[in-house]
């Protein structure tokens, strides 16, 4: 009985499990004009803050040089420079139309009332409006990039609409603040199902549910229960559960044990960053945001790297790998694998190395090296 109740609700599987290509093709046919004889995909482009504009430059340059049939619809969006920013409505309209977006990092201001005076950040508003419930970070070691742990390949799936990011806070009396963490059965089931579907689609064997249900017995308890119930629909995928503090310890001492991991919002933020750090840093890991209808690709660790602005030192790997994943989603598999192979080749050969690899190459040098390594 339960199975019948759950299954029809999860149409998001369409964007992953059933056929990425059918979704992409439909978007290509419905929304893109014909340029010459090849259909062109229109993608929303949001450079973001910090080094975003420079990094997008790398992507646009490479795409143009190799003739990728993608047309950019660029929007300047910023919470910290809100007067120059496109309105949230315009952004949503664009993404709803194009269904695919490549974005840099949008910084949230901080402090007692943030920059906008509101409790909810612009990022959260966007994610909620578009129902981007799942955030996926693929932590994969890059041969040639020296790290303490090699040959890692695991995926972090993070529920990103609820949990600690509810923006529901109040000061009950002066000096006493309550912040609400919300966990719902519906969203817990949805993210769990996403994680298991992802595991099936990508040939993975195990899903680790990360929680703190020994302390947050009701909240994380609900999350855990949802994972356990959903796992019964997937007898071929093993479910493991792990408490977040032990999980962090395991990540630094034995990260090879992990395959797919699923967790609520805050733990996801933590584990995403640990994972990025393990495979080489914020500059090399891509991230994907999924709703049932839209996908937004961005750098995995979500750091805007303000210190790097204008110095030509930001590593374009993360955004290029994100762009490669986007190309696969658009059914442009040839371009997708050519781009990611080129990135891996530049790292492997070790001839052009950026700061985080112990070298002196600039962002532009690195981008050019990747361009040269592309074999179509």
């Amino acid at each position: 009985m339960r199975i019948k109740q759950i299954y029809p609700t999860y149409r998001q599987t369409r964007c992953l499990h059933y056929s990425q290509s059918s979704l992409a093709l439909s978007s290509a046919k419905e929304h893109s004009p014909l340029v010459g004889t090849k259909p062109v995909n229109t993608v929303t482009l949001i450079p973001g803050d910090g080094v975003g504009a420079e990094l997008m430059g790398s992507v646009q340059m490479i795409f143009k040089q190799i003739g990728v049939p993608v047309q950019w619809e660029e929007l300047f969006v910023s919470e910290t420079s809100s007067s120059r920013s496109a309105s949230l409505d315009d952004v949503l309209k664009s993404i709803r139309k194009n269904q695919v977006c490549l974005k840099g990092v949008i910084s949230s201001g901080h402090g007692v009332s943030g920059v906008s005076g509101e409790l909810e950040t612009l990022n959260m508003k966007m994610r909620r409006a578009l129902d981007l419930f799942a955030y996926v970070v693929h932590a994969k070691s890059i041969p040639g990039l020296l790290t303490r742990h090699n040959d890692l390949d695991f995926v972090v799936v993070r529920e990103q609409l609820e949990g600690e990011y509810s923006a529901l806070e109040h000061e009950s009396v002066p000096g006493v603040v309550e912040s609400l963490k919300i966990i719902t059965r519906g969203r817990s089931e949805r993210i769990a199902k996403f994680a298991f579907d992802y595991a099936i689609k990508h040939g993975r064997k195990k899903v680790t549910a990360v929680h703190k249900a020994n302390i947050m017995k009701l909240g994380d308890g609900q999350f855990l229960q949802s994972c356990e119930e959903i796992s019964e629909l997937y007898p071929s995928i093993a479910l493991e559960t792990m408490i977040i503090d032990n999980c962090c310890m395991q990540l630094v001492s034995n990260p090879w044990q992990f395959d797919v991991m699923v967790m609520p919002n805050l733990y996801g933020n933590i584990v995403d960053n640990i994972a990025a750090g393990l495979v080489g840093g914020a500059g090399v890991v891509p991230g994907e945001n999924y709703s049932e209808d839209y996908v937004i690709y961005e750098p995995g660790a979500r750091h805007s790297f303000h210190e790097g602005v204008g110095r030509n030192i930001a590593n374009p790997t993360a955004i290029l790998l994100a762009a490669s994943k986007m190309l696969a989603h658009l059914n442009l598999h040839h371009f997708s694998s050519a781009l990611s192979s080129a990135v891996y080749e530049v790292f492997k050969s070790g001839k052009v190395r950026m700061r985080d690899m112990g070298g002196q190459a600039t962002s532009i040098d690195f981008t050019k090296a990747i361009l040269q390594a592309i074999r179509l």
Binding site: G109, H110, V112, R148, E178, L180, G219, M249, L251
Partner: protein, 286 residues
């Protein structure tokens, strides 16, 4: 299940306690005794120094930091309820009193232990009011201790950099949940809970030092256990009591014993039993 009155009286009289691991049976419903101890003695700050152990190699060999975690509130208030079926609300509580108390402790600790900087770890970009309040208290405490450098950093940034370059960090102060996670992350860098000391500081000079690993019932009574965590916690205790010279001596001896494969315990890849390790430490102290 309550703490025996004798135990409460003893700690109140002596002010200092040393504690081994206490198991909390799952599903029994009663509050964990660890939590009860924390509440009874108002242990507001949990201090965990994490230093790479010479002689026990991990991929991280330049760790030397201290995590100070607010121990009474935050996400561990235990205030949760099911609002409607399928919707749970957990309340994270941040108060000015507790935040100020732990922030000022962190700076006093830094000064007392010759540490150069204190970093407040937070997520005030997301939890603007609660972590914002915590951060504000840290900033105000920093002004009272101008000799100590003060930084603030997002929790995710700290995690990102911690696994790449932990020597960037000195003293870290943060609310309850982040502290729990980060202190375990740091323990993982140096070799796990079996070698990590911990101290809980209460008001009025009370303090309970403890090892934070589990009770390991499977090896109990077999002379296999590694006493390092408890021993290092005892050294922390001596330093707290002003008997730092003794504390350092014992610590040094313990590290010497770990360096040698013959005298280190099995969980660290060595051959010694618990008593053999203990004897070795006694020898090295002399």
């Amino acid at each position: 299940m309550v703490i025996p009155q004798k135990a409460i009286d003893s700690v109140n009289k002596n002010k200092i306690g040393l504690k081994g691991p206490l198991a909390t049976p799952i599903g029994k419903g009663h509050q964990s005794l660890n939590l009860a101890l924390r509440k009874t003695f108002n242990l507001y700050a949990n201090v965990r120094p994490c230093r790479s152990i010479e002689g026990y190699k991990t991929p991280y060999d330049d760790v030397d930091l201290v995590t100070i975690r607010e121990n009474t509130e935050g996400e561990y208030s235990g205030i949760e309820h099911v609002i409607v079926d399928g919707v749970v609300q957990s309340i994270k509580l941040i108060t000015e009193v507790a935040s100020r108390r732990v922030a000022e402790f962190a700076f006093r600790y830094a000064v007392a232990n010759g540490r150069k900087s204190v970093t407040a770890v937070h997520k005030a970009n997301i939890m603007r009011m609660s972590d914002g309040l915590f951060l504000q208290c840290c900033r105000e405490a920093a002004e009272k201790f101008p000799e100590v450098q003060f930084d603030e950093m997002y929790l995710d940034t700290v995690c990102l950099h911690m696994v790449q370059d932990p020597k960037k960090y000195d003293v870290l102060v943060m609310p309850n949940l982040y502290g729990d996670i980060l202190s375990d992350l740091c323990a993982g860098l140096i070799g796990g809970l079996g070698v990590t000391p911990s101290g809980n500081i209460g008001e009025n000079g009370a303090a309970i030092f403890e090892s934070v690993h589990g009770t390991a019932p499977d090896i109990a009574g077999q002379d296999k256990a590694n006493p390092t965590a408890l021993l290092l916690s005892a050294c922390m205790m001596l330093k707290h009591m002003g008997l730092g010279t003794y504390g350092s001596k014992i610590e040094k001896a313990a590290f010497e014993a770990i360096k040698n494969k013959e005298t280190r315990t099995a969980d660290l890849g060595g051959k010694a039993t618990c008593s053999q390790f203990t004897d070795a430490v006694c020898r090295y102290v002399d």
